[in-house]
């Protein structure tokens, strides 16, 4: 069955009235979940899982998938409005998205995010339809050494994430890496930096970090700077639609983001977050005016949003073709298939095209649905921003506390979030970027994990990173990028030193 036939079959399934209802239910549920801090799609999907045994298989999958990418949309909404990333992949959207909101352009930011996500979702769906096998081959042949070099490249490329100086963003990234090392060491089972506190043995939850360092720290910073008697908007609120200038900048960014996200989403474990970080870094590198980033550059919203939605879709590929979940959410999807007695694998596209293609086609439908649901909601969100800050901020603090509590039903994690908020505020106050911290937190431990694994498999031979072609290329690229950044800085520092001397 060719891809087109498959899609046609799938659309017939996806557009059936009851499946449209399931998609709608999933998307609505997912958006709400995504908007609330701390409550993630995973918990909701796990809760819905037993219920799905009463529905037909494709309806179950359509609904669960709707929850998942609905949550991506919702997570971007809070990232833009209140600097709170709903998912780790929305952390990047906070940087420019929230700045756009503060400049009165929340509506534009939300619209660009919604449209970029929609575009990416559609393209990624077509990618799945056409390239599922090839991409899953890529996923399987990616060695630990390659993975390491990819993450290393991502870290190097993305370290200049903040508008501030290179040193502060590198330092913040390093601190993030250290925070990520808290927990149990994967290879020895020994606890690191947990100070004997048992709940820390599992490591610091990203939810706590995101809520503390992004959401709460931002609130404290706002209040300390004196935003109490205003609303969250400091100036006149512009209309919802992007200007021609915005379109011109945003759509190529969305295209690039889609490509990056689609490719990285298939990699097991962390591909999605890596995708949005990488997309942002690429935009920053190729723009003519990097100073706009960090202050509300529309590409800084379009690219990562496209990347994270594309990755969310392509992460279905290993699940469908290999039966291997790329992340915990996919594990739930596999569970849903198993409950219906369907075993995922390459023949699912042939044996149960109604289920597999129905799911793929419903992604197109679902993304459209989300756009239709979310665009009108943007007006609502923006008007929420008009609520006086003195009423809003305690509510956000409470919602943050609830979110931190509900991810593990742990009061300890709430206390930890408070501590992280203090540290995060101090970093922000002194000009460090929380996004750099988040980047280090997510990528650092992955870097270590892949390095050590590559070493075990190569029996301690360091040259493995250079003998594997993909890895060698990525490392060379990292060296180039570092050189291109460091040399001008060094040159400038030398010139300044000379200038001081001659004064």
């Amino acid at each position: 069955m060719s891809a087109f036939d498959g899609l046609a079959t799938g659309l017939a399934t996806a557009l059936a009235f009851h499946n449209l209802l399931f998609a709608l239910a999933g998307c609505l549920c997912g958006t709400l979940i995504g908007v609330l801090p701390g409550v993630g799609p995973l918990a909701t999907m796990a809760m819905l899982l037993p219920l799905t045994s009463y529905f037909p298989a494709e309806s179950a999958l359509i609904m669960l998938a709707g929850v998942y990418y609905g949550a991506q949309y919702g997570g971007s909404t809070t990232a833009i409005l209140v600097n709170l990333p709903g998912e780790s992949s929305s952390a990047i959207t906070c940087i420019d998205g929230h700045q756009m909101a503060r400049a009165g352009r929340a509506g534009v930011a939300l619209t660009v995010a919604a449209l970029a996500s929609f575009f990416a979702g559609c393209v990624a769906t077509l990618v799945i339809a056409g390239f599922a096998d090839g991409l899953s081959q890529l996923a399987v042949s990616f060695k630990p050494a390659d993975y390491f070099s990819l993450i290393f490249f991502g870290l190097i490329g993305a370290t200049a994430l903040s508008a501030g100086s290179m040193t502060t963003s590198v330092a913040a990234t390093l601190i993030g890496i250290l925070l990520g090392c808290v927990g149990t060491d994967l290879y020895t089972g020994i606890q690191r930096f947990t100070l004997g506190i048992r709940p820390l043995a599992a490591g610091i939850d990203f939810v706590c970090l995101a809520i503390g360092v992004f959401g709460l720290a931002e609130i404290i910073a706002n209040l300390t700077r004196g935003a109490m008697d205003q609303t969250l908007l400091s100036r006149h609120v512009s209309g919802q639609w992007p200007t021609a200038e915005d379109w011109r900048r945003a759509w190529p960014a969305a295209l690039r983001g889609t490509a990056i996200g689609s490719a990285l989403g298939v990699l097991p474990g962390g591909g999605a977050s890596l995708g949005s970080f990488a997309a942002y870094a690429v935009e920053r590198r190729i723009t003519r005016d990097p100073s706009r980033f960090g202050h509300g550059a529309v590409e800084g919203v379009a690219a990562p949003e496209a990347a994270n939605n594309a990755a969310a879709q392509t992460s279905f590929i290993p699940m469908l073709t290999l039966g291997i979940p790329a992340n915990a959410v996919m594990a739930v999807m596999i569970g849903a298939l198993m409950i219906h007695g369907i075993v995922p694998g390459p023949d699912i596209l042939v044996k149960r095209p109604d289920v597999a293609w129905g799911l793929i086609a419903s992604m197109l439908v679902g993304n459209l649905m989300l756009l239709v649901i979310n665009l009108p909601l943007i007006g609502l969100w923006v008007s929420l921003l008009r609520v006086p800050y003195r009423v809003m901020f305690p509510a956000i603090v409470l919602f943050c506390s609830i979110g931190a509590f509900s991810s593990g039903y742990s009061a300890f994690e709430v206390g930890l979030t408070a501590l992280l908020a203090v540290v995060g505020f101090m970093l922000i106050w002194f000009g460090c970027s929380p996004a750099s911290l988040a980047l280090g937190f997510i990528l650092g431990p992955m870097l270590e994990e892949q390095f050590r694994r590559a070493m075990i498999l190569s029996r301690g031979d360091l040259s493995t990173f250079f003998t594997h072609p993909v890895s060698a290329v990525l490392l060379a690229a990292s060296a180039l990028v570092s050189a291109s950044v460091l040399l001008p800085t060094l040159g400038r520092a030398r010139r300044e030193a000379f200038a001081d001397e001659t004064r």
């Binding site: 899982l49 990616f142 994967l186 291997i324 594990a331 075993v343």
Partner: protein, 332 residues
Amino acid sequence: MPAHRNLTLLPAMILAAVLGSSSALAQTPLASVAEWPSKPIRLIAPFAHGGPTDQASRTLAPKLAEALGKPVFVENIPGAGSTLGTGRIAQAEPDGHTFGLGHVGALSIAPAMYDKLGYDPLTSYTTISLVCDFVNILVVRADSPVRSVADLIAQARSRPGALTYGSAGIGSSNHLSGELLASMAGVKMTHVPYKGSAPAMVDLIGGRLDFMFDILLNSMPNVQSGRLRILGVTSLTEIPSVPGIPPVAQAVPSFEVLGWVGLLGPAGLPKPITDRLNAEIARIMQMPEIVKAFAGMGYIARTSTPEAFHALIEKDLRMWDPIIRGAGIRAN
């Protein structure tokens, strides 16, 4: 002025404290079993969302709710190899409204690995009933030159440390199965831990690993599509879900790894409640739809007396302790 305003908060806090403590005092201990359950029940699942053990808890919960007449909420408390959530079960009030699922990993394996667990598997709980058990299977790539377990052992013997196997992490069932095999067969193999079975499976398929133990559920898709081949099961006898596959014990006598999950309550639970729950579980685990649902997750639905469950925990604790210490697996 400011001083006046801040003082009004103080009486509010005192009032809150008084209300809180008085209502805590007003809680009388459980008067009689006839009144039980008197409020919704918490079922603690010390597992991450979405995995088969989590799904098992969510399949069980509504049936329990039906049987007991009150809602049963599943609370996921993942972390530290399910020891975090298992510890919470022990800390709960024994008033019959909090229970949890105990996994072989947390009850019989973790005690040998961790110094301070925060619970004692033999004394911190009231065991209620076994719920299900599962076996592991030994898988290799379909095109691997290894044709049987005996073959695998022979290769491992001729090249000590050369064969690699993946696992879901230190102390996981797949890891320990590998350690047990190595120790019982007297060979040396290299363990490569991953964050969960899925990335390990990817490396196995991709040719970076030589073999792996895993539960049936995770490997099924790839076995069916022909990418992986099953060499053996870890039960002592063949099992119906994988007919024709010999037990590993054929090549390595007495080799057995059986995982299980059971229902626990905190220590000191009144006997009538334990008995009633045990009866309900026995009834539920025999329902055809439950057996089928659990089989789909790779589990065999079981039931047992409270005493038999306790004995199982103890037996496995004694079995795993020397192996874990012998392999030097510590997590401080």
